[in-house]
């Protein structure tokens, strides 16, 4: 009898301890990312003595989180797949505002804006990826007497110059197995930001303007003016559609360069290093920011980021949020993964190479930063009709037909 009581008490104590003592955070990371995040958590625990339990639920996070929020049993914090999802939870009243908790002065305004709903801030970006980059081989480019472009006109001029000499200016690869086409959506998003501005971009994401809108059409056309021109892209349009996105930049560093320019996000660095292990990245690889097109919109940056929001307001959660926002936590997280820190106080010395530090520097100066539009749209559009539309357009289908088809899918999906 006493034994049973004792066991019962022990169990009750254990359950209570688990339930009360620990801060829980639900994330979709696994592998290297999860290990890096665990390092951040360990440092926080060592510092404060507060226990943090990391629940890794993988790609099903949106579903699981939505279910738990609906059941009134959310985790204390969660990684958000994107700002759109965060806004949905905000609309349900589930997420707490963090304006009074975290010092937002540590972040570029663009990242604070991205996590703002109706004037209140609901999340922090602990890291980001930058997509608006044009990669080049400095030796090859300068050998042609060409310098990085600072405007769209210059970029077009360089393209024409190189093509006029019988060289192929661009390396573009849209093939990516069942996800083929996404690399082209990034091009169009970058152009859209520079020709239509962030507000129209947001309306496009929310399907408040149709796909047949002149601004969307213009973005596709500018994309097409380079990528649909057989003389401007390696292998012509069939090459663009056949070559894998990860393989495509390698030809820039061939003994006789197959092409000179390649537009892709920061992560492509590891693909370049993989294809040409002998390269000294900081010396042999360079990039410049995808240049402005319409001067009034300047140089907005396109990317993605790791966003964290909180569902409960307790002293422990506050402490953890403050820590995640700090330069110290971001140095651990970004240093391990080569991601770009969002906290402006992070020492550039944490990055594995100067290229990454340079990208982080560009991001720090971001006036306008927008999340990858295709990630924000419903999957039937953002991971379906938009991808296929890009492939159709590059393969020669008339633009109006392409846009009408994406519009039809969007009307069914929103």
């Amino acid at each position: 009898m006493t034994k049973r009581v004792l066991v019962g008490l022990l169990l009750a104590g254990l359950v209570a301890g688990l339930a009360q003592g620990a801060v829980t955070i639900m994330v979709l990371w696994s592998g290297d990312e999860l290990a890096a995040f665990q390092k951040v958590v360990d440092a926080f625990q060592a510092k404060t003595g507060i226990t943090v339990r990391v629940e890794s639920v993988g790609r099903d996070l949106p579903t699981i989180l939505a279910t738990r929020v609906a059941a009134g049993n959310p985790p204390d914090l969660a990684g958000m797949p994107n700002p759109g999802q965060m806004a949905e939870f905000v609309a349900r009243g589930a997420v707490i505002p963090i304006g009074g908790i975290v010092d937002l002065g540590q972040f570029p305004k663009a990242f604070v804006d991205l996590a703002t709903v109706d004037g209140k801030v609901y999340g922090i970006f602990i890291s980001a990826d930058l997509k608006s980059l044009v990669w080049y081989n400095p030796d090859a480019l300068y050998a042609e007497g060409v310098a990085p472009a600072t405007s769209w006109n210059e970029l077009v001029y360089i393209t024409q110059q190189l093509a006029g000499r019988g060289k192929t200016p661009w390396a573009v690869g849209l093939e990516s197995g069942a996800a083929s086409g996404w690399a082209g959506t990034d091009w169009i998003e970058d152009i859209m930001l520079r020709t239509a501005g962030p507000d129209l971009y947001d309306q496009w994401v929310a399907h408040e303007i149709p796909w047949t809108h002149p601004a969307v059409k213009r973005a596709f056309e500018l994309f097409g003016s380079i990528v649909r021109n057989d003389a401007y892209v390696y292998g012509g349009t069939t090459g663009v559609l056949s070559i894998n996105f990860g393989d495509s930049p390698a030809i820039l560093w061939d003994p006789v360069p197959g092409a000179y320019l390649h537009r892709q996000a920061t992560f492509i660095k590891s693909f370049i290093a993989g294809a040409h292990p002998q390269l000294v990245l900081d010396r042999d690889v360079g990039f410049f920011v995808f240049p402005p097109i319409d001067p009034q919109w300047g140089t907005p940056l396109l990317g993605a980021g790791d966003l964290i929001s909180a569902f409960r307001d307790t002293p422990d959660v506050r402490a953890f949020l403050q820590y995640l926002a700090s330069a110290e936590a971001q140095a651990i997280w970004c240093g391990a993964l080569g991601k770009l820190a969002t906290n402006v106080n992070v020492d550039p010395g944490i990055y594995p190479d100067r290229l990454t530090a340079q990208a982080a520097e560009i991001l720090k100066g971001a006036e306008i930063f927008r999340f990858d539009a295709s990630d924000l749209m419903p999957a039937a559009v953002g991971s379906g009709a938009f991808w296929k539309g890009v492939l159709d357009y590059v393969s020669g289908v008339p633009l109006d037909q392409v846009l009408q088809e994406i519009e039809a899918a969007a009307q069914a999906a929103y």
């Binding site: 069942a178 292998g235 559609l241 999957a379 379906g384 492939l391 159709d392 039809a408 899918a409 069914a412």
Partner: protein, 288 residues
């Protein structure tokens, strides 16, 4: 007295299994096909209307018809020709084994293998794809086999299916062919029939029921074709088929209603061929 109830007892396990694994899922799929993406709102026949009017679906229907014609014709046709011709070859077993071999490869692997065969590299680079290496070797320009629409890419995909399934058709038809009494063919020859006449008027009538079974099997397979298309193009460049569309609606776009509607349509399209198959089977059983 109790006999009337006892048979239910014997049937119960089978009925239970059928109910749980066949009847319930089918009924549930039909129910979901009348609901929205999240199965929350009733939308009537809207999913079906979309399935029969939206362009991606119409393309998928067209391609399934193309598969139905070309794939079935070539697998059964080549299976028949090979079965008859190889019967007269000394190394029959070896050749038949080689032709049957692709059957042992999963479709995903077949898709990967054929992606290499069809691989495209620009004319200035060395070709890594077998087919384009041959084309360029003969002085031609490399072809985007999986990109050129509307016929080249679809035929390229169907070729993969034919490569996998011809061996199967050949083996079944060959077994039936060997069951034809030789005296019949000998008698026809003595009566002055040429080889074509023997084939047309003796061999074919004997193989009729086997050919029908093989053909319906191929048709049922071809209506459900998925792996090859998913692996090689995922339906891009107008190569989509119904089953791949269903997969994408379900697992990519989380549109359960639309995916269920497509599943029901596919199910209804296959039923007639199943009925034909079962009828034939019954007729054969009755003969025996």
């Amino acid at each position: 007295m109790n006999m009337g109830r006892a048979h239910w007892l014997y049937l119960a396990p089978a009925l239970l299994l059928l109910g749980v694994f066949l009847v319930y899922p089918s009924a549930e799929t039909i129910r979901l096909s009348f609901f929205g993406p999240r199965s929350e709102t009733f939308v009537g026949v809207q999913n079906y209307v979309r399935a029969f009017t939206s362009r991606p679906m119409l393309i998928a229907f067209r391609n399934n018809l193309l598969w139905l014609g070309v794939f079935t014709l070539f697998t059964v046709g080549m299976g028949l020709v090979l079965a008859v011709l190889l019967d007269r070859v000394r190394y029959e077993a070896v050749i038949k084994s080689v032709i049957f071999l692709p059957m042992a490869i999963s479709y995903v692997a077949a898709g990967v293998i054929w992606r290499f065969v069809y691989a495209f590299r620009p004319a200035v680079a060395p070709q890594i794809g077998l087919l384009n290496a041959i084309v360029v070797g003969l002085g031609g320009q490399p072809v985007g086999w999986l990109i050129e629409r509307p016929w080249v890419n679809n035929i390229a995909l169907i070729v993969v299916g034919v490569w996998v399934w011809t061996g199967f058709c050949m083996v079944i038809i060959s077994a039936a062919y060997k069951g034809i009494p030789r005296e019949m063919q000998e008698a026809a020859r003595i009566d002055g029939a040429n080889e074509w006449q023997v084939f047309r008027h003796v061999t074919i009538p004997f193989l009729k029921s086997t050919l029908a079974v093989v053909t319906t099997t191929m048709i049922v397979f071809v209506l459900k074709v998925f792996d090859i298309v998913y692996m090689m193009t995922n339906g891009a460049y107008d190569t989509d088929v119904i089953a791949n569309r269903m997969y994408n609606e379900m697992f990519q776009f989380s549109n359960y209603g639309m995916a269920s509607a497509i599943a029901v349509i596919l199910f209804l399209a296959i039923i007639p061929f199943l009925v034909i198959n079962v009828r034939r089977f019954r007729v054969q059983e009755a003969v025996r």
